[in-house]
């Protein structure tokens, strides 16, 4: 496991600086979160249940605005960004969930094609990429199957395919192996690794220590009670205003 490299000025894909998050008048669930994510890197976000991993990821895939601090994505300040501009940024981010969140009445093919259809790609232009994606995840012969007829591993592969079909620059996965067996978990991790080799920045939230050790050049961020910590003493996460 290598250290998180210091941010190159202006080179980070994601920048969190002094970010805090609270829901209502209660205490902050995330405090003083500062880190940079470099393009093309692979990150594991770890921490015990309730540490705030999902909340941090929500801010990464723009489902939640921070209560304070600065969040920059692809070089733009997201905190003050008008709402109507957010869809354009979301199309550059792929998200994978522990519970898959496939649309139940759509086939595997239609679930995978959804991001392209939302982006306005014509049916003729998307049929090729969707077919290739189905083959890549090994479900070419299950294209018309509904999620209810797929196993957990198959559903998660469809969810990953949907998350990456539009070639996002950032892939965020929240406990993607939580509902699959260990063998399938390794296969899914292999998919993430393959995407990372193609240039996608990957952030995987997990508490499975066995996964973390399988990716050679992955970096780790650990959350403890809403704060980023450095358990090994080797993790450096420079905030945006420090070199």
């Amino acid at each position: 496991m290598t250290d998180v490299s210091p941010a190159r000025p202006g080179g980070a894909m994601v920048e969190f600086d002094g970010v805090g998050l609270r829901y209502g008048p209660d205490a902050e669930i995330l405090s003083d979160i500062s880190f940079n994510l470099q393009p093309g890197s692979f990150y594991f976000l770890t921490g015990a249940s309730g540490a705030g991993k999902t909340s941090l990821l929500k801010m990464l895939y723009l489902a939640q605005r921070p209560s304070r601090g600065i969040v920059r994505l692809f070089g733009e300040d997201l905190v003050a960004m008008p709402r109507h501009r957010l869809p354009g940024f979301r199309r550059r981010i792929g998200v994978v969930f522990q519970d898959f969140r496939l649309i139940p009445h759509l086939s595997a093919r239609d679930n995978i094609a959804l991001p392209l259809r939302i982006a306005g790609v014509s049916e003729e232009d998307l049929s090729g990429p969707v077919g290739e994606m189905l083959s890549w995840i090994g479900l070419g012969d299950r294209a018309d199957a509904r999620p209810a007829t797929l196993s957990g591993g198959e559903q998660q592969r469809v969810a990953i395919a949907r998350a990456v079909i539009a070639r996002p620059q950032l892939l965020v996965a929240d406990e993607p192996t939580g509902n699959v067996d260990p063998e399938m978990a390794m296969r899914l991790l292999g998919l993430f690794e393959a995407l990372n080799r193609l240039g996608t920045t990957v952030v995987v939230a997990t508490h499975d220590i066995h996964l973390i050790s399988r990716i050679e050049n992955a970096q780790m961020m650990r959350l403890e009670r809403g704060r980023l910590s450095d358990p090994t003493g080797a993790l450096r996460y420079p905030p945006a205003n420090r070199a």
């Binding site: 489902a63 709402r83 109507h84 869809p87 354009g88 969140r101 009445h105 939302i118 049916e123």
Partner: protein, 301 residues
């Protein structure tokens, strides 16, 4: 656009449940009641206007002289004298047969040939219409004329005994208009509840669509189309039922030719309003759905 265009592949994002649930049926009932109330309002308003126009400058002179021959002579003399006056538009003697036929409906003898009715001493009536809207001056002149030609006769302005009827009919027309407005508001409320229920039911799908970059406009068009179609089906059904009821009433009404019933009709403007109401209802439903959806989506980041 009332029913927005949505690509076929996007329509599959919502399960196909057209005409399921109570919304189209509730809308159908409300549309039917709205049209019936509007028809009643238009008919009553036109009736009130017709009565008002008819009674505005009309009086009836009632000659009650005991001797029937003298009574008839006085009526004829009054009619001739009145017709020659510049302030009189028309003067008409009500024939005894016409009076007996009118009263006969109340005595159970439609042709007025009941012997009891024929034996009753009926007054001689002369209907006089004034020129213009001013009644004060013409009334004074008529009183002088009547005193000369038919002493003891009574002058009865129609506005005295039909005026309250006209005011009642006009009030009923206003009430019908108020009911149309209330039912329109109720229909809008049904659409709002339907839109919110649809958003709640499909929230996971909406959340996913947001996450993969769908805009509020894309999501709104999807739901707006479905709600507009369901509402249009309900409006069409309610319109058909209301039309059938109105045709039935109209067919039976055509047999009633006496008195006030004959003044109730729709006229071109009334028909135009009744035909426009369903189209306006569809437009209102689509607009309401769109605004409700956009407002709800704004609360979701």
């Amino acid at each position: 656009m009332i029913i927005p265009r949505v690509p076929v592949q996007h329509r599959r994002l919502l399960p196909d449940r057209r005409l399921s649930g109570p919304t189209p049926w509730v809308i159908a009932i409300l549309m039917m009641l709205t049209l019936l109330a509007a028809a009643a309002g238009v008919g009553l308003a036109r009736s009130a206007n017709a009565i008002g126009a008819a009674i505005a400058g009309r009086v009836t002179v009632q000659i009650v002289t005991a001797n029937p021959v003298t009574r008839a002579e006085q009526a004829a003399a009054l009619r001739r004298a009145a017709a020659a006056q510049p302030f009189v538009l028309s003067a008409r003697s009500v024939e005894p047969e016409e009076l007996q036929a009118t009263l006969g409906q109340w005595f159970g003898a439609a042709e007025g040939d009941d012997p009891v009715l024929k034996s009753l001493p009926l007054p001689a009536l002369v209907d006089i219409d004034f020129v213009g809207e001013d009644r004060t001056g013409p009334m004074r002149q008529l009183q002088a004329l009547v005193a000369r030609e038919a002493p003891g006769a009574r002058i009865i302005p129609h506005a005295e005994w039909l005026g309250p009827v006209a005011r009642l009919i006009r009030s009923l027309a206003w009430i019908a208009g108020g009911m149309v407005l209330l039912m329109t508001l109720a229909s809008a409320a049904v659409v709002i509840m339907t839109a919110r229920a649809a958003l709640a039911t499909h929230f996971p799908t909406i959340e996913m669509l947001h996450m993969i970059g769908a805009t509020d406009r894309q999501i709104t068009r999807l739901f707006q189309r479905r709600i507009a179609i369901d509402t249009a089906y309900g409006i069409a059904l309610g319109t058909v039922v209301a039309a059938a009821i109105l045709l039935l009433i109209g067919w039976q009404w055509s047999g009633v030719t006496a008195g006030l019933a004959a003044t109730a009709s729709f006229g071109p403007a009334g028909w135009a309003l009744l035909l426009a109401l369903p189209l306006l209802a569809i437009a209102l439903a689509a607009l309401t759905a769109r605004q409700t959806l956009l407002a709800a989506l704004k609360k979701i980041l």
